[in-house]
């Protein structure tokens, strides 16, 4: 699975590179979303779909950031609260709350975010390495970089790295 995903990512980078050539830089499309006033970005090719909040069924004995599971057109997928994962204050779900369904390490998963705003194009050159200290409690490994544009600051996430090795072990081999 892992290799498959890496192959996929390679392919997508190749694709964006091709597109980007006419602009003179490598272009990436990002979906931007908000969490507690901060703006985050995620490669558009990672995102399968964006849906409104649904009824979530709680699953017992899971880490607290696992909100539960939903029925996505007949497929049961786990839902993770990004707020809880990033140790942010919990907030009421409102009509702007969305679930971003993504394929992470070969599995479909949903991530609850406060709001999804737009798809933006940025040049790869604009991505800066993440600052050494992060204030919001977000795990360092999860950040692929920051994008500093004139009037906005985006945190680029790499969800593949969101789960620590321990957590992956918990998921796959808990007995």
């Amino acid at each position: 699975m892992q290799t498959q995903t890496t192959a996929l990512t390679k392919e997508t980078t190749a694709l964006t590179k091709l597109k980007g050539e006419e602009y003179g830089g490598e272009l990436i499309q990002l979906v931007s979303f908000n969490l507690e006033k901060e703006e985050y970005g995620i490669n558009v090719l990672m995102v399968r779909e964006i849906i409104r909040m649904l009824n979530i069924t709680r699953v017992p004995n899971t880490p607290q950031y696992v909100e539960g599971v939903i029925n996505l057109r007949g497929k049961v997928i786990p839902i993770i609260s990004l707020r809880k994962k990033f140790d942010l204050m919990e907030a009421e779900h409102d009509k702007r709350t969305r679930i971003m369904v993504m394929e992470v390490v070969g599995e479909l998963m949903g991530f609850i975010v406060d709001e999804v705003s737009e798809v933006i194009r940025i040049s790869e050159k604009e991505i800066q390495p993440p600052p050494p200290v992060v204030s919001s409690g977000i795990e360092q490994e999860c950040m692929a970089g920051v994008i500093n544009q004139a009037e906005r600051l985006l945190v680029l996430l790499d969800l593949e790295k969101m789960f620590t090795a321990d957590e992956k072990r918990f998921f796959s081999s808990m007995a």
């Binding site: 017992p60 004995n61 899971t62 696992v66 939903i70 029925n71 049961v76 599995e107 796959s172």
Partner: protein, 602 residues
């Protein structure tokens, strides 16, 4: 050597057809041995091998032609009654069929390995010479000598001469080439007849597994037509729905809409449940798929063990889900081996205990409600409980006190313990003490149970009860503090409404007095950390579930009813949660989790 075949489709067709023929052939050959006078059967066997030969020569698989041709010649002589069928001939023919299977397996794998064909072919040759009538036991030297005239003077079948000569010519150079490991397992060519009795063990096992192809399905055309009809109806209903919606939007008669919509949903319900049944049926396979391997296995085993066995197969047309069919093969083989090895006595022992010379093994399958019941029954010596308990104590699996406290069926269940074996020494058949443990684990994986019926001196019976499908189960829906959970009905023994005041606490464990036993209780709400609802009532429900011999009472708030649910996996990330076996989607689109009682017990 890669396969050079321009028409892939043709090749696939050939493989599918040949595989099927070969599977049937095994079965037919074993039957033939029992009733050698059956001319129809004989002809069918002859035709099968002839078809394989024809198809292989058409596609240019010369090595296949070589083996099948010789086999065909021997069969032809048998057919014309020039040869009498003996177990020795049958061994050779079966060996040849195995070789063909291995070769076809190679073709399927897409890589033709050079194999030692001549060993097998040379064993067939003695039976082709005019002189060889019955099981003329030929000395090693004589075998080759007899083979020579067979190659030169045309035997019964006139067409035989050229390939036979080819075989002889090809022999030296092929033998010069280092034989592959596979070839080593076959008896050496120098001494064919004395070794014939040894059945080719590695070949059938390998060949059989390779040829078991489950990646494509053959579906009855009628079923497909039915399915098409159902889909047609579904399309009609969809059109009706679109029509209804557009009518409604254009403001036509809202009262009539509710009425029409009600009817529509009823029809839709009907069509989809029919469709569900149809698709489910397509996934069904007759158990014959698994059973047809057994006559051959039983024959070889019986010859190895020096026992005489009649195998009766009943209900091979019983259908069950593909996923189950794929999984039950190995446990069944194991149980059959046990029946032959441990269960049945040798002919002499049987006669002296007043039984008929031939042992009987009955393999049967039948539907029973929502389950399929497969039973393996032998009329052998049965299982001796004293011996079982002694062995279990010797091996340190249980203590004497534990044995003393056990009932008869619990003692029999000891054979399922890992490490248990009654054999002093491990043979290649049994005795390693892993078998029955694996059987039970496999059966449990399929949500099935295994029971033993035993009568000392008269035989024993192993009964497997398996669900028809793994995808849909009957379940009991329960509410636990406003959350809905589903408990597989197969493990529910009974449910009861009780007052919480009747609960007792024994050693920190909540228990309930249930008739004459004490039932340990488990509050699902607590195990699953459910948020307590505001209203706490005194009465609650206890769902009594059974896991093996253990009983456990699950305390739930309310019973919601029984429902057939489709099992959905929770995915890799949430797999292996203790006490949760999966999930299902309810009528309102919500997800309900399926409780795994076995996980709760451990």
């Amino acid at each position: 050597m890669p396969i050079d075949c321009e028409d892939q489709e043709l090749l696939e067709g050939f493989l599918a057809e040949t595989t099927e023929l070969l599977e049937k052939l095994d079965d037919d050959l074993v039957t033939l041995e029992k009733s050698p006078d059956d001319a129809d059967l004989m002809n069918r066997i002859f035709r099968s091998i002839h078809t394989v030969k024809g198809a292989s020569s058409f596609l240019g698989f010369d090595f296949l032609v070589k083996v099948t041709h010789k086999t065909e010649d021997v069969l032809n002589r048998l057919r014309k009654l020039e040869l009498a069928l003996t177990p020795e001939i049958m061994d050779v023919v079966l060996e040849a069929v195995d070789l063909v299977k291995t070769l076809v397996g190679d073709i399927k794998a897409g890589d033709i390995v050079e194999r030692d064909l001549d060993t097998t072919v040379s064993k067939l040759l003695p039976y082709l010479s005019e002189g060889a009538t019955e099981a003329t036991v030929l000395a090693p030297g004589a075998a080759t000598a007899a083979a020579q005239p067979a190659a030169e003077s045309p035997p019964a079948s006139t067409a035989a001469s050229t390939p036979a000569a080819d075989a002889q010519a090809a022999a030296p150079e092929q033998q010069a080439a280092a034989p592959k490991p596979e070839a080593n397992k076959l008896p050496k060519p120098a001494t064919p007849p004395p070794q014939i009795k040894e059945p080719p063990k590695p070949a059938p096992a390998r060949g059989g597994d390779d040829l078991a192809d489950n990646s494509t399905v053959r579906v009855d055309v009628k079923r497909l037509d039915d399915l098409m009809n159902q889909v047609g109806e579904l399309v009609l209903e969809r059109n009706r729905m679109i029509q209804l919606h557009s009518d409604y939007q254009s403001g036509l008669d809202p009262n009539g809409f509710a009425d029409d919509f009600g009817k529509l949903s009823k029809r839709l319900n009907f069509v989809t449940s029919e469709l569900q049944m149809q698709v489910l049926k397509m996934r069904m396979l007759p158990v014959e798929k698994v059973f047809k391997k057994f006559p051959r296995i039983v024959r070889n085993l019986a010859r190895d063990l020096g026992k005489e066995v009649d195998l009766h197969i009943i209900g091979e047309e019983t259908e069950l889900d593909r996923s189950v069919v794929d999984e039950i093969g190995d446990p069944l083989i194991h149980l059959i081996r046990n029946a032959l090895d441990h269960g049945l006595e040798t002919p002499d022992e049987r006669l002296s205990s007043g039984k008929s010379r031939n042992g009987t093994v009955v393999l049967s399958a039948a539907h029973e409600g929502n389950q399929i019941v497969i039973s393996i029954k032998d009329d052998g010596r049965g299982i001796d409980p004293d011996r079982i308990s002694r062995k279990a104590i010797d091996k340190g699996l249980v203590t004497e006190d534990q044995i003393a406290a056990m009932g008869a069926s619990e003692v029999l269940d000891l054979i399922f313990l890992p490490g248990f074996s009654t054999k002093e020494q491990a043979t290649d058949l049994s005795g390693r003490g892993v078998g029955m443990d694996v059987v039970r684990t496999n059966i449990r994986k399929l949500n099935g149970i295994i029971e033993i019926k035993n009568e000392l001196g008269r035989g024993s019976e192993f009964i497997l009860k398996l669900p028809l499908t793994l995808a849909i189960i009957q379940s009991l829906l329960v509410e636990v503090e406003r959350e809905v959970y589903s408990i597989p009905l197969s493990s529910v023994i009974e449910t009861m409404r009780v007052s919480q005041r009747e609960f007792h606490i024994v050693g920190g464990q909540e228990v309930l007095k249930l008739r004459d036993s004490v039932l340990p209780l488990l509050r699902l709400g607590r195990v699953f950390n459910c948020a307590l609802s505001d209203v706490q009532t005194d009465t609650c429900y206890v769902v009594i579930v059974g896991v093996g011999e253990k009983r456990l009472g699950l305390v739930v708030t309310r019973l919601l009813g029984q429902q057939e649910v489709a099992i959905k996996s929770l995915g890799k990330f949430l797999a292996n949660l203790p006490g949760i076996g999966g999930s299902t989607i309810m009528g309102d689109g919500r997800v309900a989790l399926i409780v795994d009682p076995m996980g709760l017990v451990s």
